[in-house]
């Protein structure tokens, strides 16, 4: 899993049915010092409480996403699984 910063939201009304009712956020991966590292990407928010500016924990693995969403055919790779309060590294 990666630490990421939420950069903003993505609104899409016409999408694959597996994305219905899921919130999409753009996130920027961070290193352990919370510096930007690599390209931003889109993740689904499973915590339903992450917002712009939050540091979040993102899982980038499709099988884990399908288990969490209980949808064995979801074409989704990245999901926010926690909102980070503090990192001591």
């Amino acid at each position: 899993m990666n630490l990421c910063k939420v950069l903003g939201t993505v609104v899409a009304s016409h999408k694959h049915p597996a994305f219905q009712a899921l919130k999409l956020l753009i996130v920027q991966p961070l290193d352990e010092k919370q510096r930007a590292l690599g390209k931003s990407f889109i993740a689904v928010d499973h915590t339903s409480c992450a917002g712009k500016g939050d540091t979040v924990l993102v899982m980038r693995e499709g099988n884990g996403v399908r288990q969490l969403l209980k949808n064995p055919k979801a074409p989704i790779r990245s999901i926010i699984v926690g909102v980070v309060d503090a990192v001591d590294a």
Binding site: L7, T9, S40, I42, K52
Partner: protein, 87 residues
């Protein structure tokens, strides 16, 4: 998953079994500020995207899951048409 913009189409008469009827589009990946990021790629369209549409894509094995049938050799699929990005 990542943002992209549709910049063209690919016509491919002979395709792998299971990909008959699949629309192939050329997509330029974009970053959160909608600036091009990396080389353009060919993606299967599952949402009837049109030229110049801002879309989001999924890559790797999950791209094939967006297709029907899902056991197809695809590693990039357009899974949504983006209305707005606030970033």
């Amino acid at each position: 998953m990542y943002l992209g913009q549709v910049i063209g189409t690919v016509v491919c008469e002979r395709k792998y079994a299971g990909l008959e009827g699949a629309r192939l589009l050329v997509v330029q990946p974009l970053d959160h500020q909608r600036a091009p990021c990396g080389p353009a790629e060919v993606a299967v369209d599952t949402v009837s995207a049109r030229a110049k549409d801002l879309v989001y894509l999924v890559g790797s094995r999950e791209a094939a899951l967006a297709c029907d049938p899902s056991f197809v050799p695809v590693d990039s699929a357009i899974v949504g048409i983006v209305d707005a990005v606030d970033a």
